[in-house]
Symmetry: C2
């Protein structure tokens, strides 16, 4: 197979993991499932061996670029692309495509979010390579995960005809469904979870940008030109001046849903979008009472709780069930697991009053 | 009225207020109801004006004597009697009686616990003076609190005949009742809560010790003799050598329940035995949702919670009711209010394993 580049999208702000995630320290820097590596580090580790470090790009915000380089010392520093403004994923992919295009126009890009959990890494790697191969001839490819439960928090993909072994036409992308629809989707083999992992040749995806998002294509072309003649200053100037003004749209809505030739490779590899403290509890090792305890603790009649605190802090729970308890140096969160989506309400509350130091 | 001494019993270990109370910092040093003074300081403040500082004695453990002196700088340091061992309240009162007896044998002693909350301080002070006056002629006097609810956590006193205006004979002391009995007691005017506040002349209570607890009487007599001739070293030597060997029994069981002439002065003065975090919540100021918040907090759908943390720490609660949350530098407690009695189970757990630093 020809050149493969990996593009890791690490632009998360991570309010859903407050108080562990902060503005200055978002979700991708946290260890939420594994103990000794962050989500971002795990994502890079999993593709090591498939893609050499020089061809792994990480797109993140300017504010987090230093920490990103520190977490990934094996990457050339210039492979961390620092966005001057958050413009959703379409500009981020356009920039990465321009970067790749300047080096190897027909290289295949694997675009991967920084933060999923992967339970079966061997199956995952095999699927990455198959999907990258499926993109070699020019289509846009995505990985669809076989649903195991009626999840209402994910988008779905409806498959069409099988084009080649294990590669299907995408019939359509489906927004997050209600429970009834999600239950239908689990029973119906045609529906897959949208994993947010995409595979395409740089030149081919840039053609799609030209058609569907021309301002992003113009930016990418200019960047590719400057970058191709090693004019780093000129390329950087372009980003500084133009990036914040680019159309803010997701790669899903802006490109994948509009392109004609989109394909999906279905698979199952223990994929989890770690979207909230509830998922963190689901993934964590638990004691016999269902407690996931990442702290020194004394538990009396406590069941199915998620407890996390810094070393040297003792957490005592008496007679509580299904609680999430996350304690940090300066902030403590306590809520039932089922309220995990409401963490943003605390973050909103703190934003609106004079308590930004806790964000 | 002749000389009145106050004896404040401050021997508590206070496991029920863990993690705020610690072995080195027990309940009486905490601010649980008032914001700016500890329970001990409030107890002393309330009797200021009734009893001069030179005649206020505090009996506490050796380990807490320094902190006690620091909390009460207005007291002569020698008025803090430091027990070398915890022997319950009868030895503590015997020692204090010997101390008083050496100075003024027929002085009246008010014996007061260090830790109740008093809602109506004017009524309380009036009652203290009436009770002290009732003890002048030689009887043992206690204050009985008119019950306002069927409390099963307190002992009760059954009144007999009225001996003089507002002073009744004690018919008997009653142990903590079950709920059914407690409900009867609330309806029956003869029953009062045992406040643990006692009034008697030093010489008269020492006569009772001679009869009922002769070893404590012998100790008190020797101490009084040494102390009376200003032989502080001799008196201290006696305490060091003998105190740990004295009969360990409460003043209630050892003296009050056995003495013949015991009287009770009924009253109502917003008395609360702050026995647990539940009581602390009951006494605290609350917001419209019933939350008592002694911390910087962000509350989303939280009701009837007690939240306490150190300055600079933010506590966020989402969707929880009736929780006690007490956060300190190195320990965090979370439990439903109704489980407050089980804090000792955490303390026991920590004692039994290698976690004593949290006690």
């Amino acid at each position: 197979m020809q050149d493969v580049y990996a593009v890791i999208m690490a632009g998360g702000s991570g309010t859903r993991f407050w108080p562990l995630s902060r503005r200055a320290w978002p979700k991708q820097f946290l260890s939420l499932a594994e103990q000794n590596e962050s989500l971002l580090q795990a994502t890079v580790r999993r593709i090591r061996g498939l893609v050499p470090s020089e061809r792994i790009l990480v797109v993140t915000s300017e504010r987090h670029s230093e920490a990103t380089r520190q977490q990934l010392p094996e990457l050339p520093p210039e492979n961390v692309l620092a966005e001057p403004a958050a413009r959703n994923t379409a500009p981020c992919v356009a920039w990465a495509a321009a970067h790749v295009s300047a080096r190897s126009p027909s290289a295949v890009m694997m675009v991967l979010p920084a933060d999923p959990h992967i339970g079966d890494e061997a199956a995952y790697r095999e699927l990455l390579m198959r999907s990258a191969a499926a993109a070699e001839n020019g289509g846009l490819v995505t990985i669809g995960v076989t649903p195991t439960r009626p999840e209402t928090g994910y988008g779905y993909i409806e498959c069409g005809a099988e084009l080649s072994a294990g590669v299907f036409k995408v019939h359509r992308f489906v927004e997050k469904p209600n429970l009834e629809r999600a239950q239908e989707f689990v029973r119906d083999e045609r529906f897959l979870w949208n994993s947010g992992m995409f595979f395409f040749r740089a030149d081919k995806v840039l053609e799609e940008y030209e058609q569907h998002l021309p301002d992003l294509h113009a930016f990418a072309s200019e960047y590719s030109k400057e970058s191709g003649r090693s004019n780093r200053q000129g390329a950087q100037k372009l980003v500084t001046e133009r990036y914040a003004g680019l159309t803010s749209v997701s790669i899903d809505h802006g490109i994948m849903e509009r392109a004609r030739d989109v394909r999906v490779v279905p698979g199952q590899f223990g994929w989890y979008d770690i979207g909230s403290w509830t998922t963190a509890w689901e993934l964590a090792a638990k004691d016999e009472q269902g407690n996931a305890v990442l702290a020194e603790a004394s538990l009396v009649d406590a069941n199915n709780c998620y407890v996390r605190a810094k070393p040297g802090k003792l957490v005592a729970l008496i007679g509580v069930d299904d609680l999430v308890v996350v304690d940090t140096e300066d902030a403590l969160l306590i809520m039932p697991r089922e309220r995990a989506q409401d963490v943003r309400r605390v973050v909103d509350d703190l934003s609106q009053r004079d308590a930004k130091k806790y964000l």
